[in-house]
């Protein structure tokens, strides 16, 4: 078995599949954020809705990915997208809802009540409070949710190769079919590295986007 020889020989494909993987995950997290962040903010204002939305997102999480692909196949097939990237991205967007909604909700809920009170008392309307106080205070927690979603999606996207979505899962799926060990291991290692890399990258983004004053007060609180 010569892993390095395999990687060397297939360097081009390694890069292409990695980029494809990043594209699927990136797109799905982006789309998920557009839906889940506003939803998280919305439910932080309404307890009853919060319970319902969080429960629904919880249930979505429990569906095995292979089963979800199977369930979507006949529905999306009607639109001619039963296989390929479309069902993969849709599934990833669904899986991302829970971590992003939950973190946004918790982040906004955890803004100290006296800040909201002071903002109201000074005559900041809802939108101003959200924009100038609540979101900046919650940003580290919201980004942490995106980070969880991204790392999780890298793993799930590998399975999406079975429905022809492409990405690093292709190595694993084909390797298994051909009993080609080097191929399987290369796919697995690249997926793992990608996850570690993205996790570290998101940590940097989290730090960069956290307002300076919030970092100082967190340090002072410790």
């Amino acid at each position: 078995m010569d892993l390095f020889a395999f990687i060397h020989k297939n360097a081009r494909e390694c890069v292409d599949l990695t980029l494809e993987h990043v594209w699927i995950v990136g797109l799905s997290v982006f789309l998920a954020a557009i839906i889940a962040v506003p939803l998280g903010i919305l439910i932080s204002r309404n307890e009853r809705m919060a319970t319902k939305v969080l429960n629904t997102a919880n249930i979505l999480m429990t569906i095995p990915s292979i089963a979800l692909f199977g369930l979507m196949l006949p529905v999306l097939a009607l639109a001619g997208h039963g296989l390929g990237k479309v069902p993969a991205v849709i599934a990833l967007v669904l899986y991302s809802q829970l971590p992003i909604i939950r973190n946004t909700y918790v982040g906004i809920k955890n803004v100290p009540p006296e800040l909201v009170e002071a903002g109201r008392g000074m005559g900041m309307n809802r939108w101003k409070r959200l924009k100038e106080v609540e979101i900046p205070m919650a940003i580290p927690v919201i980004i942490a949710g995106l980070r969880t979603a991204a790392v999780m999606n890298i793993g799930i996207a590998a399975i999406a190769a079975y429905i022809g979505a492409g990405g690093l899962g292709v190595f694993i799926q084909q390797g298994i079919a051909r009993v080609y060990e080097e191929m399987i291991i290369t796919g697995a290692i690249l997926v793992a590295f990608l996850a570690i890399f993205v996790d570290a990258g998101m940590a940097l983004i989290e730090r960069a986007l956290t307002p300076e004053g919030v970092k100082i007060s967190r340090r002072a609180g410790q």
């Binding site: 903002g119 008392g121 000074m122 100038e132 340090r219």
Partner: protein, 379 residues
Amino acid sequence: MIQYKGVSKIFGSGPTAVTAVNNVTLHIEEGQLVTFLGPSGCGKTTLLRLTNRLLRLTSGRIIIDDRDIMSWDEVRLRQSMGYAIQEIGLFPNKTIYGNIAVVPRLLKWDEKRIRERAEELLIMLRLEPEKFLGRYPAELSGGQQQRIGVARCLAADPDILLMDEPFGAIDPINREGIQDEFLKIQARLRKSIAFVTHDLYEAIKMGDKIAIFKEGRLIQYDTPEEILMRPINGYIEDFVGSDRALKVLGLLKAGDSMNRDSSNTVNVSANADEALRFMRDKNHSSIVVIENGKPVGHVKKERLRVGEAQLKSIAEPYPFHINVKDNLRDVLSNMLLHDIKELPVVDEKGDLTGTISFDNIHRHIIEIYSQRPEQDNAP
């Protein structure tokens, strides 16, 4: 000017309803600081929060400068008043400048004007603008944060301030300091202020008037002196405490009680013979020795011997002088500490304006307590 007319607030409904504020009528005059005082749950904070419509009135009216608060847009109403809370609530993500700028920005002031205002406010609160404006709240001490809370509340120069235990979160020593500063600022700005506190001393010190609440009702609304000297009922009596006569001392000034009679002063240039003759003629047991109108010391009759000695060398210097503005509690405490029965009272320039003794204070207190309130004098 704030007028509360039959204001009530009921939380909940049916059998679980709680009346937090019960038919309160009171009037905060232009430029006055009124403290809302009472135990927790007495409705003082609720009344404050009704004023800027953080809570909705159940019944009654609140009128600010002849305009019913219900006729305002609630956000505009709040922007027109300063608001400070015990927890301060500075925004950690904003710099000190950003915090002070919140309301001016809502009011669309231009940045140059906001910056000037922020600098002015920091100087007023004795914090260096160049050092503090760019910092974040977490980098400041509790006392400094509280000052910024006050600055933020004053930022857009509102006529009305609502303050809910604004100095409640700092230690007693710093609190004294910031109270004194705030009183100085208020003496200059003359805002109309509703100031919630549960601390009797703070209420007495800060308030032009005190409103004392119990279970949502306004029990007594009067000046601190009146409340201490003539509590309207047992509740107020208990609230102000059995040492209320001593608390009154904290409100009275040396200038009000002193003996203005200056017939017992002798110039420092006189000698012992002259002084002795003067005391015999005028029947004084002691004299105050002055030089250029300023007290230098005192001489007791029994200490004087016939002779040529200059008073300057005989006079016993006073351990300190009392200022006309010192309160009687401090005066009395100093008398006890230094075992001295009579002290000279001086004005801002250090000139002698009178003397003060135990007797003077005692007589003054008796006099005040024997005065009947005006309405009792009516035939």
